[in-house]
Symmetry: C2
Subunit: 352 residues, 2 copies
């Protein structure tokens, strides 16, 4: 059994997407038990339409719904304790849920998650890991927006957490990992990336196969299973890739409707275009994972539909099933034990 708490009010469409999405995920994974938080008057009529989901869920009424444009600090002040977002996260603390999924606004969700769950021992700052479709399959890219300007130690932590997530998600033993960098050698700045590279090489963690530096075009190529970067560049890479995909889709649409010949060609090749569209479907890889907290939080796109939200639930389900949290804790512990400073501290006071 996997217990998943849902912020039913989160996202552009709230219960209208979350409840049908949960019903779809339940079809695929009948061992899910949901803990739902939301506005009772809005949610109950919808839940009645999905009796199987209703039977597999516990519903808790929440007074407040966090708005999609609410500032994180305001959301925290207003929604602490009372909002569906907070309560869904807090279900991890109370032991009611193993993972939480929300399509609510990213800033508020991150602020509440940090406040409510706290960062893991040994982790200074959280990261958001995205699942990126590549020519070889999928890769994990982190951080895509939580920690702007991460230092070398934080990048190292991201590497450990991303490696653990790759093992949980892709079920590979020793994922390859690269540090995102620019190609020009001997440039000034980004000392933290070079330093993180040195740490990764020298500590020789056996749960990661460190590849070296990678560049922006290596992400889509699938050069490595895990790409590590700080949150500013990572967020810009993610959004730029999304924008480029949308741009090319527009070009393609325009090209295919321009002439009669092109239109005829489109009809013949429709199956192929459908496959392409499916391949590029952002709903299929919906679900950013917040890493580094005492609990796993899955962030769904706010504008997604039921299928997309179900995909985010799938990610949460897989993370629990494959023991992501234990994997991260284990890797961090082994890494910290490896550090000379901590080893000495361990010897002296028996504690890290």
């Amino acid at each position: 059994m996997v217990r998943i708490s849902l912020d039913v009010m989160g996202g552009d469409f709230g219960p209208d997407v979350v409840i049908p999405g949960a019903a779809r995920a339940l079809e695929r994974h009948p061992d899910i038990r949901f803990v739902l938080f939301g506005d009772e008057a809005l949610c109950q009529p919808l839940l009645d339409k999905y009796p199987k989901l209703k039977a597999a869920s516990t519903f808790h009424a929440s007074e407040i719904a966090i708005a999609m444009d609410e500032k994180p600090s305001q959301a925290l002040r207003r929604g602490r304790g009372k909002s569906s977002m907070w309560q869904a996260i807090d279900a991890i603390n109370t032991g009611e849920a193993d993972v939480v999924v929300s399509a609510g606004n990213t800033g508020a969700l991150m602020a509440m998650s940090v406040f409510c769950l706290r960062t893991m021992t040994g982790i200074q700052r959280p990261a958001i890991a995205g699942i990126w479709p590549t020519l070889k399959g999928e890769s994990i890219v982190l951080d895509v927006g939580a920690t702007i300007g991460a230092d070398a130690q934080q990048l190292m932590d991201f590497a450990l957490m991303g490696g653990a997530m790759a093992r949980a998600l892709f079920e590979i033993e020793r994922p390859t990992l690269g540090l995102l960098n620019v190609g020009v050698e001997e440039v000034k700045g980004q000392e933290e990336v070079k330093e993180a590279g040195r740490l990764l090489r020298e500590t020789g963690i056996d749960s990661i196969d460190y590849f070296g530096f990678v560049e922006g075009d290596d992400i889509g190529r699938g050069t490595v299973d895990v790409v590590v970067t700080e949150g500013f560049a990572g967020n810009i890479a993610l959004k730029t890739a999304e924008g480029t995909a949308r741009q090319i889709a527009e070009y393609l649409k325009a090209a295919m409707s321009r002439t009669l010949m092109a239109k005829i060609g489109y009809i013949f090749a429709k199956g192929a275009f459908d496959r392409l569209r499916e391949k590029m479907d952002p709903r299929k890889v919906n679900g950013g994972v917040f890493l580094g907290l005492n609990g796993i939080v899955i962030k769904s796109h706010g504008g997604t539909d039921a299928e997309g939200f179900a995909a985010a639930i799938d990610v949460g389900y897989d993370m629990v099933r494959n023991g992501l949290k234990a994997k991260i804790e284990n890797d961090l512990q082994r890494y910290h034990a490896m550090l000379p400073a901590n080893a000495a501290a361990n010897g002296a006071v028996g504690e890290v």
Copy 2:
């Protein structure tokens, strides 16, 4: 007449691409006069094949060719004064050329350009401006790799230079300009982006229409004419977009050759696919512009072909024709005159 110096030995193919490329550009712009620097034994036989180009060119023999994988510091030590790259840049100092075009390695070209031309008065660090195809046409994105971790004042300089370049390249009077940022509000870090935004708003430069912050997906959308960012994020955005475009092209190719129906469709729609390919053709927008130096340097992709190199020459030609350097100097002067600190300094000692 526009005088363009060429590093004939630069790029993966050197003279084999540079000389035919120059010949093509000359067809389009018969008022170009070329100053060529390269290995005489390699270049002269090729030049003999293009009599029109030969007649419009002055050839200078260079002893050294900079390798594509040479480190900038080594290239400077070995190639200073003697290499085709150095000599082509130096032709701006000697007054022989108005602009230089090289397909040589970016790091070496930037290092030599800074060393040989020096930064403009009032500019601390150079930027590389890329021309980015968008849904609305083209935008300028800078910096795409010269200045890692630019501070607020440097971002402000980039904005002025990018604005001037947009006026020169797109021939619009008051280009719109955005600062690249991440969407999450109230995040820590990137204070320099916020500070640059404040400077842009408060100084109210009339040569730029400041839009505000933009995100990664706004670049391809063409939300603004000029996107300003520091070099690390800019380089990663550029490479990620290139990677995504290549990735989708691969998907499309695979989809179109999978079934007989798709193949038939492809034949009918071939014209449309050709248009799409042309639209996505990286050669068409080949030519990064080094800004902030006492002279304009155009960097062509190293692996480009003759058409691509000709496109880079076209960019250089347009920049000279439309007075880019004077536009930048003028904008910088007006901006610096606007700053209260400098106004006081001007009053006191008559000099900035």
